[in-house]
């Protein structure tokens, strides 16, 4: 059946509680009442990111978006726009993000946007496998099934794709190790724990295009010789869990999962495991422990998961965003992929903009974009016209960037040259109203809360660091405290058991260098220029 118009309504964890279900219900009723049921189709879609207020309605082919939409506005949109073809100008964008209207309708500032992993997000109904298939979905799976494992892996290897979960390891190599590891029983695991603060790209992929992950897992399963895949989704993402559950179900019903997929001698199934609130379970070996029903403490490496992973069997663990890249790479080839991004770091990256920028949200751009472009062109600049003080990339385990780094191209290799890191692609923007001691303490508190407690430097070191920062904020800093922080940080970095403890002091250490004066002022003068810290007056001043 041909429809004159499609109305996509955002159905996500956030939008549902902002009334999306009621809006949809009213929408369908109004459309029926207006006699448009055969002309206009309502579809559910995932989030768009980029700070679009929820819930939004996107009308195709007009390319017009209403956001946020309330139930009382639905009738007007239907009768004016859908029935009479007159868009309701008044409702088209939200006042809270004035730049958005321009951003969305005039593509110029977002010319850099390049959608590979978000190719379907916000454009198709994530609950419909037909929609996905209509966008060439599952063709990549069909294609690899006619290749040898090695051929399939070679495409990924040649593409230069590296993991997007933070560590930046070449994905093709990881698949190859797993494929070559001895053993009959092997597993594929998708890491959807996404606990890095400021990061929500994986959620949007899962909610907006779950089939792309199911397909990618099946491709990896074929490539490494696994019959089973596990996707570990954090409990904070109930909508993602539902979306993936549904995708697995319809893929199984369609014969794209299960026994003898597409007539080939390949059987594969995908199971969901949920997290339960532990950031450390994003670390690959902790994640495996968690799937195995245990405390999420990291394992001793070696052996690495490709040698001995889930239940001791060779296992390929990949991040959601990494996986989302794989079907288009298979379909379009390694050369196509290498044409995107920088020569040394191909592909796109999804960045999530958070903190003190005008527009929160996410954007997918080719590797090599600068921080300036992201903050000012995409993010619409710092809120309230303030200055950027510091940007933390990839959450605390990523890098710390100061204003002098605004023009560094953002890619794994270039940032490393600046002693920084891309991490998960989260950008947490902090403006100059914030006290650096306060911000750093907040980062450190995260690690204190999330440390698994296995090793001494991280278990006790984080505690001591937070205590020292806390007393600095209260005007009780002591001479030598900055040295102590450096010693503790250095020790944690060099002796911690896993990546969490090794990365935990990064923001602290960087900021101690970049903002030494501000720290010193807290300790020696008990002064917080930003007046964030509640300094207790020094004793001798009392009663003066």
């Amino acid at each position: 059946m041909f429809y004159r118009a499609h109305v996509l309504i955002e159905m996500t964890s956030n939008s549902i509680h902002l009334g999306a279900s009621q809006v949809k219900e009213r929408l369908e009723r109004e459309i029926a009442q207006a006699g448009l049921s055969n002309e206009v189709k309502v579809l559910e879609t995932g989030p768009l990111g980029r700070g679009v207020p929820s819930p939004f309605l996107m009308i195709y082919p007009d390319n017009i978006m209403y956001a946020p939409v309330t139930v009382s506005e639905v009738r007007e949109i239907v009768s004016e726009h859908l029935l009479k073809g007159r868009p309701v100008e008044r409702l088209i964008v939200s006042e809270t993000a004035p730049a958005l209207k321009e951003g969305y309708f005039r593509p110029s500032p977002l010319a850099k946007e390049k959608r590979v992993v978000l190719r379907n997000s916000g454009l198709i109904d994530p609950g419909s496998i037909e929609d996905y298939i209509a966008q060439d979905g599952y063709q990549a799976l069909g294609k690899v099934l006619s290749m040898s494992r090695q051929e399939a892996i070679n495409i990924v290897k040649d593409s230069g794709l590296v993991g997007r979960g933070g560590a930046g390891f070449p994905t093709g190599l990881k698949l190859e190790f797993t494929m070559k590891a001895p053993g009959e029983e092997k597993y594929v695991v998708c890491n959807a724990d996404e606990g890095e603060q400021g990061t929500f790209k994986d959620r949007l992929i899962l909610e907006g295009d779950p089939h792309s992950i199911v397909e990618a897992m099946a491709i990896c399963g074929y490539a490494v010789g696994a019959g089973e895949g596990y996707i570990y989704i954090r409990a904070e993402y109930p909508e993602s869990i539902r979306a993936v559950e549904k995708a697995i179900e319809s893929a199984t019903d369609t014969g794209l999962l299960g026994d003898g997929i597409l007539g080939a001698d390949f059987s594969f199934q995908v199971k969901i495991r949920q997290g339960a609130g532990a950031y450390i379970c994003g670390e690959e070996t902790s994640l495996l422990e968690s799937i195995e029903g245990k405390r999420g403490e990291p394992r001793i490496k070696p052996p690495y998961p490709p040698q001995a992973g889930l239940w001791g069997k060779p296992t390929a663990i990949n991040n959601v965003e990494t996986l989302a890249n794989i079907p288009p790479i298979i379909l379009n080839g390694a050369d196509w992929y290498k044409s995107i991004g920088t020569p040394t770091c191909p592909g796109t990256k999804v960045f999530t903009l958070t903190g003190n920028v005008n527009m929160l949200g996410l954007i997918e751009v080719p590797m090599g974009i600068t921080l300036r472009e992201l903050l000012y062109d995409v993010g619409g600049g710092i809120r309230g016209g303030r200055q950027m003080k510091v940007v933390q990339t990839g959450g605390p385990s990523g890098g710390t960037m100061t204003p002098d780094m605004l023009d560094v191209p953002m890619a794994f290799d270039t940032l490393a040259q600046f002693n920084s890191a891309l991490g998960s692609g989260a950008l947490t923007v902090v403006d100059d109203t914030h006290c650096i001691v306060d911000v750093v303490k907040n980062f450190c508190e995260f690690f204190l809360h999330e440390s698994c407690g296995k090793c001494t430097p991280c278990r006790i070191g984080n505690k001591r660091i937070v205590e020292i920062l806390d007393r600095m904020q209260r005007g009780r800093g002591r001479p030598g405290d900055l040295d102590l922080l450096r010693i503790l940080g250095e020790n944690m970095k060099t002796t911690s058991f896993c990546g969490l403890g090794q990365a935990a002091p990064n923001p602290l250490m960087k900021c101690l260098d970049y903002f030494q004066e501000e720290f010193e002022k807290h300790v020696t003068e008990h002064l917080c220029d930003c007046q964030v810290c509640e300094m207790k007056p020094k004793r001798k001043e009392v009663g003066v």
């Binding site: 959620r203 495991r273 239940w311």
Partner: protein, 158 residues
Amino acid sequence: MEAVKGENLVFSEVDEILEKYQNERTPLLAVLQDVSRKWGYLPRDVMGYVAKKLDVPSAQVWGAATFYSFFETEPVGQYMVRVCKSAPCHVLGAVNVLGTLQRELGIQVGDTSRDGKFTLQATSCLGVCGVAPAMMVNDITYGNLTEERIREVLALYE
């Protein structure tokens, strides 16, 4: 069974959960998640029962149950309010969110309101930093929190 009445009834409900995962290799966490959803927390006897049924030492069940911050081992309020306190929310006012909630609910972080309705907790990034500051009430996430919106949200649960 001090907290949950009717031992056999409870255990038959646990049996149903266990049955759901009978083909899984290491279903402990999944089972605990379902138990937690059902009772809001993990009653000790239920954990003991699960340990026995799954043949996992109960010390290990306890170890896992106390490791994950979404599991509670003591009864909590009907609504678990988890406020994100990670940096992206923090720089957009997470402290105010927590302050407002403490004021509105009349409880401190970690406490349960006297009527047993709300438990307030601080938590790490909820992955909705695009609508920071944010919080979760049971399974549902709320973003763009202001004092006013917090009051609106709480009103939904009154």
